[in-house]
Amino acid sequence: MSKATPETTLSARNLTRCFGNRQVIHNISLELKRGEVLGLLGHNGAGKSTTLQMLTGCLLPDSGEIEICGINLSRQPMLAKTHIGYLPETPPLYRELSVNDYLTFAARLRGMKPAAVAEALAQTMRRCGLEAAGKKIIGTLSKGYQQRVGIAQAIIHRPAVVVLDEPTVGLDPEQIREIRALIRELGNAYSVILSTHVLSEVESVCDRVEIMQHGKLIYGDTSARMQQHGQVSGFIISLRKPPALSELEGIAGVSSVEQISATQFRVLHAPDDNPSGALLTLAEQNGWRVEQLTPLQATLEDVFVKITGAEKGTAEEIK
C-alpha cells in the first residue's frame, strides 16, 4: 500500500438493524482511514450507539458487511476484534479491581502477550494521565478518572480502530479539554470514531463528520467544510451616530440591512462581494463613528439545526 493513500481501517457497507418491528438503522455505510477522527453526530436516540455496537461486534447487524483492517467481522470475529478498542456509553469497569489489575486484564483479554503488557500498561497510563492512580480501586475514583480508565482500556492493546461512545459526557470542562486533547493525539496514530451530540467536540477534534438522524446518515463531510455549509455572508456593525437605514442599504454590494438596536445593524451581502471596506470609508467620511464590526459566522449548531431541519422538511414533504 502506498504512503500517499492511508489504508482503510474500517469499512461498513449497508448496515441495517431492527429491534422487533422497528427499523432503527437504515442502510448505513461508513469508511475510516488510518489517522482520521470521525465524528458521528446526532440527537439522542438517532441510532449512534446502536451503530457503534454493530461496528464493535457487540450487536449483529441484520444485513450488511463490516470489515476491520480488511477482516470480515462476522466471518472472523475473533481475528477482527483484536484490532478494535471500544469505550461504550457507560465505561465497562470492574469497580472492585485496581486500575493496574483491570487494565492488565483488558490487555490480556485482547490477546496481548504477558511480556508486552507491562510496557503497554506504563505507556497507556502515562497517556491517559493515570500514573498516580495505578493502585487505586476503580470504584473509589472520580467520574473523570473512571472515564480515563475507560479510554485506557480501549487503547491499551494499540488497536487500529478506536470506537468511543460519547467520551466526554458528564465530565467537567477541564477534563473535557484533556480528553479531547487525548483523542486528537490518538487520531494521529489510530483511526478514531466518536459519537457525540456536543457540536463543539466535533469542531475541536474531528476531521470528518457524519450526521445521523432517525437511523440514517444524512450528511457527511469534513468538519471544516461542514462549518461552511450554509454559511451566511454578512456582518454586524455598531455605529455611534448611525445614518438613516436607506443610506446603508444604498451602499454598493449590500443586499439587506436590518436594524437590531439603535446603534447596531445586521448587514447581509453576496458571498463574493464584501462591502465592509466601502462602508468603513463612508463611515469615516460622514462621521458615523464605527465602534465594532463583527463578521457573522455560522456555528456548527446553526449548521446542524439547518441540516437536520432540512431533512425533516423533506421528510414531511414526502409524506
Binding site: C58, K81, I84, R95, L97, L109
Partner: protein, 247 residues
C-alpha cells in the same frame, strides 16, 4: 483465555468485602453443624458400641454434614451465579467481553470455572474439619472421597444451571431468585414424588447426590451430573450468542 477469565472472576470475588463476609458466616455455620454432630455422636456412642456392626463416625458425622452442605449450596450458588452474567450486563461490563476477541465458549467456561474454583475453596473447610477426627478415630476414606466427588459434581451442575438463569435476564435479583426457584423446585419435586420410578427423581441433582453421600460411586450418577452441566453450559453459550442477535 478461559483461565484469564476465571482468574478475573476469582479476583473480583476476593476483592469484595461481601464475599469475605459470606465466607466467614458460612465457615461459622458449618463449624457449628460439625460440632453439633460430633457432640451428638459422643452422646450416643456408648449405645452404638453395643450394636453388632455399629455405624462409624464417618456415617454419623461426615455424611450428614456433607448432606447439609449440599442443601446449603442450593441457596448459596444462586447468590454467586447472579453476578456472573446478569449483574455484569446491568453494570454494562459485559460489553467489554462482547467486544473482545472471545467466543461464547470462552466467556461461559471462564465464568463457570472461576466460580467453581471459588466454591471449592469455600467448601474446602468441610473435609479439613472432618479430617481432624482422624486424630482420635478411624475414618472411612472411601466414603469421604465419594462424598467429596459428589459434592464437586453437584456444585458444578448447580453453577451451570445458575449461569444459564443468569444469562436470561439483566436483573440480578430475578437471576438469583430464578435459580433458587428452579433448584428448590427440583428438590421439592424429588422429595414430593412418591412413586419409586418417578421422572422427578431422575432429574433432581440432589437425588443423584444421595448415592455419593452413602459412599456409593455410581457412574450413572456421575454421568448425570456431567450431562446436566454440559446441557446448561451449552444453553448459556447459545443464549449469549442470541444476545448479540436480539440486543
Amino acid at each position: 483465555m478461559i483461565r484469564l477469565l476465571a482468574m478475573r472472576e476469582l479476583r473480583s470475588l476476593l476483592a469484595m468485602p461481601s464475599t469475605w463476609f459470606v465466607l466467614a458466616v458460612l465457615q461459622f455455620i458449618l463449624a457449628w453443624f460439625f460440632l453439633a454432630r460430633t457432640e451428638a455422636f459422643l452422646e450416643i456412642q456408648p449405645q452404638l458400641a453395643q450394636l453388632a456392626n455399629p455405624p462409624g463416625v464417618t456415617t454419623t458425622v461426615a455424611a450428614p454434614l456433607f448432606n447439609t452442605v449440599a442443601l446449603l449450596l442450593m441457596m448459596l450458588v444462586p447468590m454467586f451465579t447472579t453476578r456472573l452474567v446478569a449483574e455484569e450486563r446491568r453494570n454494562q461490563t459485559f460489553t467489554l467481553l462482547l467486544s473482545a476477541p472471545l467466543s461464547g465458549r470462552h466467556i461461559v467456561l471462564g465464568k463457570f470455572f472461576g466460580l467453581l474454583i471459588f466454591l471449592v475453596m469455600l467448601m474446602a473447610g468441610v473435609p479439613l474439619m472432618l479430617y481432624t477426627l482422624a486424630l482420635g478415630t478411624h475414618l472411612d476414606h472411601g466414603m469421604m472421597l465419594s462424598n467429596i466427588i459428589g459434592l464437586l459434581l453437584l456444585t458444578a451442575s448447580y453453577i451451570a444451571l445458575g449461569l444459564y438463569v443468569s444469562a436470561l435476564t439483566t436483573q440480578p435479583i430475578i437471576a438469583a431468585i430464578g435459580a433458587l426457584a428452579v433448584l428448590v423446585g427440583l428438590w421439592l419435586a424429588d422429595i414430593g414424588a412418591s412413586a419409586e420410578n418417578s421422572p422427578w427423581h431422575f432429574i433432581s441433582p440432589l437425588n443423584h447426590f444421595q448415592n455419593f453421600n452413602a459412599g456409593l460411586l455410581d457412574s450413572g450418577d456421575a454421568a448425570f451430573f456431567v450431562l446436566f452441566s454440559i446441557f446448561f453450559l451449552l444453553l448459556t453459550m447459545r443464549r449469549i450468542h442470541s444476545n448479540r442477535i436480539y440486543g
